[in-house]
Amino acid sequence: MADATRTTTIDGNAVSRAWQRTSKIDPRYLIAFLITLVLVAAQLRYHMLGSYDRLVLALVVCTGTEALLSWFDRGKFVNLLSAYISGISLTLLIKPQGGALWPFALGGFLAISSKYVLKYRDNHLWNPTNFAISALLLAAPDRVSVLSHQFGNDLTTNLVIWIFGLIIAARVGVLHITLTYVASFLVLNGARALALGQPVMPEIAPITGPMYQLFVFFMITDPRTVVRGRRRQIVVAILIAIMEMLIRFASDQGWPLPTAFSAAPAFLALAIVGPVAKWLDLRRLGVQR
């Protein structure tokens, strides 16, 4: 019994040390690791890419645009890790008509260039991938759709991504954002279903899907576009969930919104609420990064 306790303590210390060591890692590497894990798992198990040319194109355009614009704008080349993350995210999320490749090229360019154009006090306001996806869905709804179901609707794959995602979100210090959004989603949409007399399960079902996994781990928690302060981040996460609930309510009622709102309400909610919150936050802080 004593030995077992000691072993547990040693193992616990080892885990603790490993956990501590990860604090020295740039959060972007952890996020890049997670998105790569998602991509590899999805491709190996479900062949979800369709073709590798779209992956190559998205990565080349994202990293190339980042390198070019950072040199042009700042006179130096920046770390390309966030461009890599955007490239992978776009590859996972964009589903074009007829296997067209241009959405990956345009999406990649829009994602990265938005960071250099849509700025306030030298901070970009939109998560790059969120901006690109939202822009494409609104500008080209007849040619571009967003990932709506993938990864085989499989519990095991979902669990793996959720476990890694939660660990990394905790390490990066954004777990409270993820959990707040998920809790808000469940409460708000459950309440919406009850208020409208609809079954609850279909309304909360989307949160179990891969599109939302990408959303809660890579978009809503983007360290560069979240507001400062834990409490404010929680409030913004709730506001995003409220906006999404309102969009869903409008879709329930058949209001004539662009299809993008019905097809990807979470993305549009973030695209609306996120920049406003960030702008107010930057205005409040009154500092330049």
């Binding site: 062949h47 979800m48 869905l137 709804p141 709506s148 990864f151 085989g152 079902a205 179990t208």
Partner: protein, 587 residues
């Protein structure tokens, strides 16, 4: 951090291509920058002559157990089928439609040879097949299973299979029980094929819902697929071996018992080894190719099909690019803003790389919620066009189920496997009111939709498509069975300047229907292959006679017939602009 001088100017410069990219996306949303040029002269027109032909068939969808009332429009959205044969042997192709509501009859339209048809299903004994306890019809395929020279009929249902022997070209006898086919299956497809080349037609029946499910007396509502992409909880497909008129279930022995929610099957010798293989279009899953190992067993092979998991609605075979090989066109689902699964045009490279290569892009990739499709040379120019039926559920034009579908489609499979968890359909449409597509084959220039231009303008919920030269004019008429709606007959009027040839094959060592026989014609630089299908597309079967357009070619150098028995026959310089009848050499 201090800004470099001129940062506002640089930002403005970056904004220019940024805005241009958004504008470009908006422009590309409207379609190709360069419009197709030769689509203005498709070389044929299609005229709706349904009423003039006396075809007044209307399909009625079924009703099921009230426990699944919320999703009934979805579950009951299949059953309109059409299959063609000359059942009375008078030289004129006849047409059989299935109905899917209890008490509603199926219809057998006998071709009177004067451009009109009469429904003789009642007199023939193949009308009243939709009864409680028996199930409702989902489709039918014709094949001479007893080689007596008369086409027999297999009807598959959500319910029991039924086999009808053609007694005298006028009447049919139900031989289901003595044939050993009294099996309950929730089936949406079946094909005849002679997999062991013994000269007798065998039967492959696909299953959609599990076969232990009685949709009128449900013991559970957990009847739906458990994945939108990789579901394997569908019914088990069955292969029946014809042993002198009795059918033995050899599914497990032959290794073809897929449970992937199969919606359609087609058969041909894809790898050129002389044995018929089986190609499956599966809903909620990847396509499957079963290669026939000399009639001893089928091997499931990937052949590049595993790389894309979609929702296969139908599979049809044709020589898309005149390479002398049979390619596969598989329809899928696309809905603007929600999902682009894209259709697959899979070029057969089995003899080289042992793979099928998907080359669908542009217009042909997105037909909407596409169902049955068939290759046919509608303008007789020597290249196959594609007719694709579209649309799933046309109800309230102002209510779409797509938003509701998007909620559950991304969810975990355990949730939507239960029909009771689906949002109620109500009167919503789901990809309704979609037009048919008629893709003109422009070779390397790609395919272009000319449906409106040629006159295929209906907005029915198309399901099954069958092609046949109904008036023996050297044309490819199109018959479409529409779900819960009237059937449509489009008569084909191609440019008269083009030549054609058609073949009627009669098997001797092979099955009498010659199902599985392939004809390769060579006319100068034109080379094209066709196969006699025992079921093709979705819930459909084309005319036995193989029609080839020849364009300006005034002769055919030779026609090579690969009989199902393995025999090969060459016909030199067959006469063109007519039907050529060829009987298989005895030895």
């Amino acid at each position: 951090m201090p800004h470099r001088p001129g940062h506002r100017t640089r930002r403005a410069i970056i904004a220019i291509p940024f805005l241009a990219a958004i504008l470009l996306a908006m422009r590309l949303d409207r379609g190709p920058v360069r419009a197709s040029s030769d689509a203005t002269h498709p070389g044929f027109v299609l005229r709706d002559q349904t009423a003039a032909a006396g075809i007044d068939f209307v399909h009625h969808r079924p009703s099921f157990d009230p426990k699944i009332a919320g999703v009934e429009p979805h579950v009951a959205a299949l059953g309109a089928s059409v299959s063609v044969t000359d059942f009375d042997g008078d030289g004129w192709p006849d047409v059989y439609f299935t109905n899917s509501r209890f008490g509603e009859p199926n219809a057998l339209y006998r071709n009177k040879g004067n451009g009109t048809f009469e429904d003789v299903a009642g007199a023939a004994g193949v009308a009243d097949l939709n009864e409680p306890g028996e199930g409702v019809s989902m489709g039918a395929v014709w094949g001479d299973f007893d080689n007596d020279g008369r086409e027999d009929l297999l009807v598959y249902r959500y319910g029991y299979l039924s086999l009808f022997r053609n007694v005298d070209g006028k009447h049919f006898q139900d031989v289901t029980a003595p044939a050993g086919l009294h099996r309950w299956m929730n089936s949406n497809g079946a094909i005849w094929l002679d997999y062991d080349r013994d000269g007798l037609l065998d039967l492959y029946v696909t299953a959609y819902f599990r076969s232990d499910i009685d949709l009128w007396h449900l013991t559970t509502t957990r009847i739906m697929h458990n994945s939108f992409e990789f579901a394997t909880n569908g019914g088990k497909n069955l292969l029946f071996h014809n042993v002198g008129g009795k059918f033995e279930d050899v599914t497990d022995q032959m290794g073809v018992g897929s449970t992937r929610w199969t919606l359609a099957a087609s058969s041909a010798d894809f790898n050129g080894d002389g044995w018929p293989d089986i190609y499956l279009a599966n809903d909620y899953g990847p396509e499957e190719l079963y290669l026939n190992d000399h009639g001893r067993r089928f091997q499931l092979t990937t052949a590049g099909l595993e790389s894309e998991s979609k929702s296969g609605m139908s599979v049809t075979l044709g020589d898309a690019f005149n390479r002398g090989r049979l390619d596969a066109f598989v329809t899928n689902i696309s809905e603007r803003g929600y999902i682009f699964q894209n259709n697959n045009l899979r070029v057969n490279e089995m003899s080289g790389s042992h793979r099928f290569r998907n080359v669908a892009e542009g217009a042909i990739a997105d037909a909407g919620w596409a169902w049955g499709a068939q290759f046919g040379d509608l303008n007789n120019d020597g290249a196959n066009e594609l007719f694709v039926a579209n649309g799933f559920i046309s109800a309230n034009r102002n209510r779409s189920y797509w938003y509701a579908m998007s909620k559950i489609a991304g969810a975990n499979g355990r949730l939507f496997e239960d029909a009771a968890t689906w949002p109620a359909f109500g009167d919503a449409s789901l990809s309704g009111y979609e037009p048919s597509r008629v893709y003109l084959n422009r070779g390397v220039a790609g395919w272009v939709d000319v449906a409106k231009k040629v006159g295929a303008n209906d907005l029915y919920d198309g399901r099954a498509v069958a092609l046949a030269d109904l008036s023996n004019r050297g044309t490819v008429d199109v018959v479409v069975a529409n779900q819960n709606q009237p059937a449509v007959l489009y008569r084909d009027f191609p440019d008269s300047a083009n030549h054609w040839i058609a073949f009627k094959l009669i098997g001797t060592r092979s099955n009498r229907s010659a199902i599985g026989a392939e004809v390769l014609i060579e006319a100068g630089d034109l080379k094209q292959r066709r196969v006699i299908d025992g079921g093709s597309g979705f819930a459909s079967q084309n005319d036995r006679r193989l029609h080839f357009g020849l364009g300006s070619h005034e002769w055919v150098d030779r026609a090579v017939i690969q009989w199902p028995s393995g025999a090969q026959q060459t016909v030199v310089r067959p006469q063109i602009d007519r039907l050529v009848t060829i009987t298989e050499p005895e030895r």
